[in-house]
């Protein structure tokens, strides 16, 4: 049964890695929410900032994807 404890650790680690996705969710929500708040105050400037919005979302989301990748590696590669 020695091998099982390693596998158990990998599963627990994969579960823990999923908490990073929550962080990414908070980050993406924060970016989009602040964009909306700014856009409602000055709607004429909003259109010019959509590119920035998507870049911000992409950066925040990438870190969530990294944690997903860690989870996948623990599940299938370790």
């Amino acid at each position: 049964m020695e091998g099982d404890i390693v596998q158990m650790g990998a599963y627990i680690g994969a579960g823990l890695a999923c908490m990073g996705m929550g962080g990414a969710a908070v980050g993406v929500g924060n970016v989009a929410g602040n964009y909306l708040a700014g856009a409602l105050r000055n709607p004429s400037a909003a259109a010019g900032q959509t590119a920035t919005l998507f870049i911000g979302i992409a950066f925040a989301e990438a870190l969530g994807i990294f944690s997903f990748l860690v989870a996948l590696l623990l599940m299938f590669a370790v």
Partner: protein
């Protein structure tokens, strides 16, 4: 592993139930016949990349062959696509980045068609593999780095020297900037591949779940329609993500290009 547990639960009750692994769709295998995948094997990934190139060529060639003043539908799409990317390059990277517009347009069209064709049921998504996206990202990284040095000489290193920061802070910032510069191709490629892989895996998880719960418990008739609804909803989200990720990949290329052309903070 997760695969076995998914499979075993379904398999324990009904041995002929649908048993598949959510990650099975990402296996690269030869397109013709069986056997191992070598360097020059024509795989399912290669096939869908060929389809991507054909679809992109078809759109742009058919779209522009008419050249009518009142555009047809396909011509409108081709023009929209061209105008969208051209405006993006001009807005984000500046007017002097326009010579690099064909490269960025190629990247965008390739990625968006690979993403969209991968959403067809049974299709393979080449962009869900880091091997494919890493090549795209490394090409961008090397192009931008070489071009930065060619255009600005040693002045390109000014990208790492934040002249607006207080002097004692600058070496620290330079270190962080150098690290973040070299992480760029990593995040650039993993973002696209990860998004594609995650979305397709989620669809497959729901797709495996729907028949599994129908066969195994009494609640199946209630839960299965919900699961199928979830597939539809996630699929709709994936169509959006397929576009957004192609857009994000291109716009980040533009941002990196801008850094290479104007490296001073």
């Amino acid at each position: 592993m997760a695969s076995e547990s998914l499979g075993m639960e379904a398999g324990a009750e009904k041995s002929d139930g649908l048993v598949f692994h959510p990650m099975d769709q990402f296996i690269v295998k030869p397109f013709f016949g069986e056997g191992a995948v070598g360097t020059f094997t024509f795989t399912n990934s290669s096939f869908w990349m060929v389809m991507t190139v054909l679809a992109a060529t078809a759109l742009l060639v058919l779209g522009t062959s008419g050249r009518s003043v009142i555009p047809s539908r396909i011509q409108s799409i081709a023009e929209l696509c061209y105008g969208f990317i051209r405006k993006m390059v001009e807005d984000v990277a500046g007017k002097d980045a326009l010579p690099y517009f064909p490269y960025i347009m190629t990247l965008f069209v390739f990625i968006i068609f690979a993403n969209f064709l991968g959403l067809l049921p049974g299709a393979f998504t080449p962009t869900s593999h880091i091997a494919v996206t890493a090549i795209l990202a490394m090409a961008v990284f090397l192009t931008v780095t070489v071009m930065g040095f060619v255009k600005n000489g040693a002045g390109f290193l000014g990208l790492f020297w934040v002249s607006s920061a207080p002097l004692p802070l600058r070496p620290v910032l330079a270190l962080i900037e150098v690290i973040s510069y070299f992480v760029r191709p990593v995040s650039h490629s993993i973002r696209l591949a990860g998004n594609m892989m995650a979305g397709h895996a989620v669809i497959k998880v729901f797709a495996a779940f729907a028949p599994m719960i129908l066969l195994s418990t009494g609640l199946g008739l209630l839960v299965t329609p919900l699961s199928i609804l979830a597939i539809t909803a996630v699929y709709a989200l994936e169509v959006l993500v397929a576009f957004i990720q192609a857009y994000v990949f291109t716009i980040l290329t533009c941002v990196y290009l801008k850094d290479a052309l104007h490296p001073h903070h």
